[in-house]
């Protein structure tokens, strides 16, 4: 009777809990979506930064021309005259996702533009990501922890930084794919169902489509499998979770053109194959152990172990030989710098120079995961008591992610979900205990508590909860729950002893201290919310295509980039080529629809070096280089008037370095005075005569009469000069973008005549240039 009543009560409670969870999850989704809208509210619905513009352009192409044309797309608008094979060199996941979304909306007669869909893809997928986090954490530690983790993930600053509305980049969908793949892996591990294993392989495929970070998955999961085997946790569920993933996953991954045969040829994937072999050996051992008597088994064991070892050694030797035969030992530079953190700083300056690849300092952690940094250790410990397959996976995930994030600040993004899961577990456990302490020690409640608390507050709470939960989820299939019970047999052997030896006693903490603790926890959570909202609103929402600045006389908006690109698209010929530093390549092709020489996909160093050389050469030499590349217009970004610090003059040393790397006549010391980079009157003559200086500062003195550069905070060195080979055609409102046109060739005959008549004139250098010019 009593048990029937109790079960009835719990089932009603469970039902209410599910409904509540459902609504909470919807709210979490709304939160995740809306916290990312600051960029739209503060600025406008616009695509951000550089790479997203490329993705946007690819998506436009996809929606216009269809998937097959996209797959075979050879883009002749970029890397002129080389062009670029787009279909085979991009991760298509993001583009296909947004394209599909757009297609669905349009077939529902919701006429959204492609741009709108692209802008809001990231916020939508962060809602999905928080739901995936709920699912994953629920598998690890139950629904309470799941909800907490989901709400934490919905507003973790690190993830916000990559997924605000408008930041239409691979990471936007990839983080969702990452978490969802992990969820399906853990789900398979808990259930042993082939259905989930297949889904897992498909989710992995989606991840491979979306982001190069998929190698994290294909290394983390084998690591976990190996860990389980070593610590004696092998089970058939582990086999089902792993083997199909490797086989199907690898086959599917090699379907993505940009991965292709890399899925079996590069060292990043070898770990999975190695573990694949090991798990088969182990499975065989367990199988033989099952069918033989213990004595026979011992005999067979030695046989199998020796044969297995021999096979393993042979395979390892083959793998090692394969790896050793490739020059970088089969590892890409980035992966190597993760394993040996000092690698990049020693050998690959170009990787070491990118700000995303710097090792973070402690404030980065506080900025990006905020108070979660305090909670994670508690989560780790909670995962160890008790340790299950799923929770060991969560621990492994956080440990590897936190180590990698320590090497590269960019990988903070991978750490963020792990930190949310751990903190969710920690928070929910703490709340569980503190609220329990309060509830069962309330004055009027004291009489009841023992009866009610019965099973809920014993030491084995978590354990029994787990069992009931897993059984609940399994009762659709009897066979599975049978297996589960078998598996659980091991634990109950120890469990009854410990719980019997314990006095039936409430596991609670002092009442008033618990109240304080809850208050502090709520305070901590409130601080997290304030910090996240602040980060979303202030730090991570700037689209960097439209700039604003607050000053005493109000808000200033600098929309010069779009002004310039608009000018280009309206005033130049469709086939004109525009040269600029590679940062602006994607934007020029996407917004101005003009052909560029180099863009942000920096695959051809020589080509970039050519542009760098042109920018660092004197006018005449630069004109020749540009002329040889068919360039009609040159675009420079100049921040000296409004104080925009990331302009071309500040990036100029990189142009010199990269140019000098290929063309040795460009030497960095020529541009430096005593090792210092300066543009004032102390600057070197090479610096003052190079094209970048001239194009940036041409007519600059007319603005204020002195030529005061607000970024470098100094007066410029050379104020009055004329351009001989270039003419200014457009300068934006705040002078942030300046566009120059290459002067056409002089008429040959006139030039000759002039050269005779005006041999001593001041235009001598230019005249010579046009005469010698081979083009």
């Amino acid at each position: 009777m009593a048990t029937a009543d109790a079960s009835n009560g719990t089932s009603i409670r469970n039902a209410i809990g599910s409904v509540l969870s459902f609504f909470i999850l919807i709210l979490i989704g709304v939160l995740a979506f809306s916290i990312r809208l600051f960029s739209v509210i503060k600025y406008e619905s616009v695509i951000h930064e550089f790479d997203p513009y490329f993705n946007y352009r690819v998506t436009q192409y996809l929606t216009k021309k269809g998937i097959y044309d996209f797959w075979n797309w050879f883009d002749d608008r970029t890397w002129y005259p080389l062009g670029r094979v787009i279909g085979g060199t991009v991760y298509p996941g993001l583009t296909l996702t947004a394209g599909t979304l757009w297609w669905i909306l349009n077939s529902l007669n919701i006429p959204l533009s492609v741009e709108t869909v692209c802008v809001f893809t990231a916020p939508i997928f962060s809602a999905f990501a928080s739901w995936a986090t709920y699912l994953l954490t629920k598998e690890v530690k139950g629904p309470g922890a799941g909800l907490t983790a989901a709400v934490l993930l919905a507003m973790v600053p690190s993830y916000i930084s990559r997924s605000v509305a408008g930041s239409y980049d691979n990471e936007a969908v990839a983080i969702f794919a990452l978490i969802f793949t992990f969820y399906l892996y853990v789900k398979t591990l808990n259930t042993g169902s082939l259905f989930y294993a297949t889904l897992n392989a498909i989710a992995y495929f989606y991840m491979v489509c979306s982001w190069g970070g998929y190698t994290f998955i294909i290394n983390l999961i084998p690591m976990h499998v190996l860990l389980c085997i070593i610590t004696g946790r092998y089970s058939s569920r582990l086999y089902i979770a792993y083997a199909p993933l490797v086989v199907l996953g690898t086959l599917l991954a090699s379907l993505v053109p940009v991965v292709g045969f890399n899925a079996v040829m590069t060292s990043e994937h070898f770990a999975s194959f190695l573990v694949f072999i090991i798990i088969h050996v182990v499975a065989l051992v367990y199988y033989i152990k099952g069918i033989l008597s213990p004595k026979m088994f011992r005999v067979a064991m030695t046989l199998v172990v020796s044969v297995g070892l021999a096979v393993c050694c042979a395979v390892i030797a083959i793998l090692a030989a394969l790896v050793a035969s490739s020059p970088t030992k089969g590892w890409s530079g980035r992966s190597l710098s993760l394993l040996d953190p000092t690698y990049a700083s020693k050998y690959i300056p170009i990787i070491a120079s990118v700000s995303e690849h710097q090792p973070p300092t402690w404030p980065s952690y506080f900025m990006d995961i905020n108070v979660l940094a305090f909670l994670v250790p508690a989560g780790i410990i909670a995962c160890f008591s008790p340790l299950s397959d799923a929770s060991s996976f969560a621990v492994l995930y956080i440990v590897t992610a936190v180590y990698f994030s320590g090497v590269m600040v960019r990988l903070m993004l991978v750490l963020a979900p792990a930190a949310c899961i751990m903190s969710g577990i920690a928070l929910s456990e703490a709340f569980d205990i503190f609220t329990r302490s309060i509830k069962f020690q309330l004055p009027y409640h004291s009489g009841h508590s023992h009866v009610h608390a019965g099973d809920a507050s014993l030491d084995s709470t978590v354990e029994s909860d787990n069992v009931s939960k897993t059984e609940k989820s399994d009762d659709t299939s009897k066979e599975r729950s049978l297996k589960k019970n078998k598996k659980k047999e091991k634990e109950p052997v120890e469990k009854p002893l410990s719980s019997k030896s314990q006095v039936k006693r409430l596991l609670v903490l002092p009442f008033e201290a618990s109240i304080i603790a809850i208050f502090l926890l709520v305070l901590l959570g409130a601080f997290y919310v304030v910090h996240s909202v602040w980060a979303a609103a202030e730090a991570y929402s700037a689209p960097s295509i439209v700039l604003t600045s607050h000053s005493d006389d109000g808000l200033h908006v600098f929309d010069d980039f779009r002004e310039a690109y608009g000018w280009l698209s309206h005033n130049t010929d469709v086939d004109d080529k525009v040269a600029s530093w590679w940062d602006y390549g994607y934007q020029t092709t996407a917004m101005a629809n003009r052909t560029v020489i180099v863009d942000n996909n920096t695959w051809n160093n020589t080509h970039i070096a050519t542009v760098g050389t042109a920018m660092s050469s004197p006018e005449k030499a630069a004109w020749e280089i540009f002329q040889s590349l068919d360039v009609k217009y040159v675009l420079v970004v100049f921040g000296g008037l409004v104080g925009y610090p990331s302009d071309d003059i500040n990036k100029f040393l990189w142009m010199v370095r990269i140019g000098g790397g290929v063309f040795p006549h460009i030497k960095e010391p020529d541009y430096l005075r005593d090792g210092q980079y300066r543009i004032d009157s102390m600057a070197t003559p090479t610096m003052l005569n190079c094209l970048m200086y001239k194009l940036s500062y041409f007519r600059f003195v007319e603005t204020d009469g002195k030529g005061f550069d607000r970024v470098r905070r100094t007066e410029i060195g050379k104020k009055h000069f004329k351009l001989t080979h270039f003419e200014e055609v457009f300068t934006t409102h705040h002078w942030m973008v300046r566009i120059y046109k290459l002067k056409p060739l002089k008429n040959r005959i006139r030039g000759k005549k002039k050269s005779k008549s005006k041999a001593s004139s001041s235009t001598g250098s230019k005249r010579k240039g046009s005469r010698r010019n081979p083009y």
């Binding site: 070593i230 610590t231 004696g232 172990v305 070892l309 953190p341 000092t342 700083s345 020693k346 090792p359 973070p360 300092t361 402690w362 404030p363 952690y365 506080f366 900025m367 108070v371 940094a373 305090f374 909670l375 994670v376 250790p377 508690a378 989560g379 780790i380 410990i381 909670a382 160890f384 008591s385 340790l387 621990v395 956080i398 440990v399 936190v402 180590y403 994030s405 320590g406 090497v407 920690a426 703490a430 569980d432 030491d459 006693r505 596991l507 903490l509 002092p510 201290a513 618990s514 304080i516 603790a517 502090l520 901590l524 601080f527 304030v530 910090h531 909202v533 602040w534 609103a537 090792g675």
Partner: protein
């Protein structure tokens, strides 16, 4: 004869002191090159130890242009203890470049053979050479071109030996147009050691496998994994990787007041070692205390003990969070504030 400005007597003394040859100064450039080559082959590291006399013999008293380049490492034994100068490390790296160069241009027919000599000068032995080159700070590496005198020769910048042997070689290659070639670093383990390690591993392998199968290694101990996980976490959030990659010191000396030490660096791009560990500790301790409360303290029977420990844990946690927030605001200069729309 005419090429040597000093008197014949002094010259004789010099020659006697130079320990190499008894021939008089009328000898040709070729002789000097071969002398330098023999000196080079005699030294183990490939560095030629010069003193005041030999410097005059091979540098100042030779008619320019000399047929060779000389690169000199200025060394001072008594400064080897000062770790911030990195003299020892730089000297071994310099020797590495020397031996690599020698090995790469061993063949007499190669264009680099006998064109560049790596020398070092010890401060105690040859103080006047230090004065001759105007060296008053170490580390100091100088490259003397065939036509240059000691004063006008090129000095290797701080930047040129920042990446050790590789950047030194780059500097030399760019200045001399000679080919230094790949740097031959001695392998971490010698061949014999490697074989021993492999053998040892093979022998212990069966035992390890047996242990693993029996399930009684350290790896089966949860506490080991737990400690490992928490340690990795602590290590990473303290930014230790940043300190390793950037070779940050644990603390700095205050420039204004040398008796004071700076433990905290203002500015978010950089951190000091001690600072990182301190904050990493604060990051970790809060979570550990929380776990302590929810896993250990609940099992304690005495209510008062629970109360005291809990109050203590809460106070420490509160203080740590507050401290980190304060430090973060101080270091980065961000002012985190609530974000309320001022108007709709």
């Amino acid at each position: 004869m005419a090429a040597i400005p000093k008197s014949p007597f002094l010259l004789l003394v010099i020659v006697l002191f130079s320990l190499i040859s008894l021939a008089v100064s009328s000898e040709s450039d070729d002789d000097r090159v071969s002398e330098l080559l023999t000196l080079q082959s005699r030294s183990q590291s490939g560095l030629i130890r010069l003193n005041d006399q030999s410097i005059s013999r091979y540098l100042t008293s030779v008619k320019t242009p000399r047929p060779y380049w000389i690169v000199i490492f200025f060394d001072a034994l008594q400064l080897h203890e000062k770790s911030e100068l990195r003299l020892k490390e730089l000297r071994t790296e310099f020797a590495l470049v020397a031996s690599s160069y020698i090995a790469n241009s061993k063949d007499p027919s190669s264009p680099s053979h006998g064109k560049l000599f790596f020398c070092d000068v010890e401060f105690k032995e040859s103080q006047s050479s230090f004065a001759l080159f105007g060296v008053n700070a170490l580390p100091h590496i100088r490259l003397i071109a065939p036509h240059q005198g000691p004063k006008e020769s090129d000095q290797m910048d701080q930047g040129d030996f920042s990446r050790l042997a590789e950047s030194m070689a780059e500097f030399l290659e760019s200045k001399t147009n000679l080919v230094v070639g790949p740097i031959h670093r001695p392998p971490l383990f010698s061949r014999g050691q490697l074989i021993l390690i492999a053998l040892g591993f093979l022998i212990t392998l069966p035992f390890i496998v047996k242990k693993i199968l029996a399930g009684q290694t350290l790896l089966h101990d949860r506490k080991f994994w737990l400690l490992g996980a928490v340690f990795v976490y602590f290590f990473s959030v303290s930014g230790a990787m940043h300190n390793i990659i950037r070779k940050m010191p644990m603390f700095l000396l205050d420039r204004n007041d040398p008796s004071k030490l700076i433990f905290f660096y203002q500015g978010s791009g950089m951190q000091l070692g001690a600072e990182g560990f301190a904050v990493g500790f604060l990051y970790t301790i809060v979570g550990l205390l929380m776990a302590f409360m929810s896993h250990v303290l609940v099992k304690v029977k005495n209510v008062n003990v629970q109360r005291v420990f809990m109050i203590f844990a809460l106070l420490v946690s509160f203080w740590s969070v507050k401290k980190v927030v304060y430090l973060d605001n101080w270091k980065t200069g961000y002012g985190v504030h609530g974000y309320w729309p001022s108007s709709w």
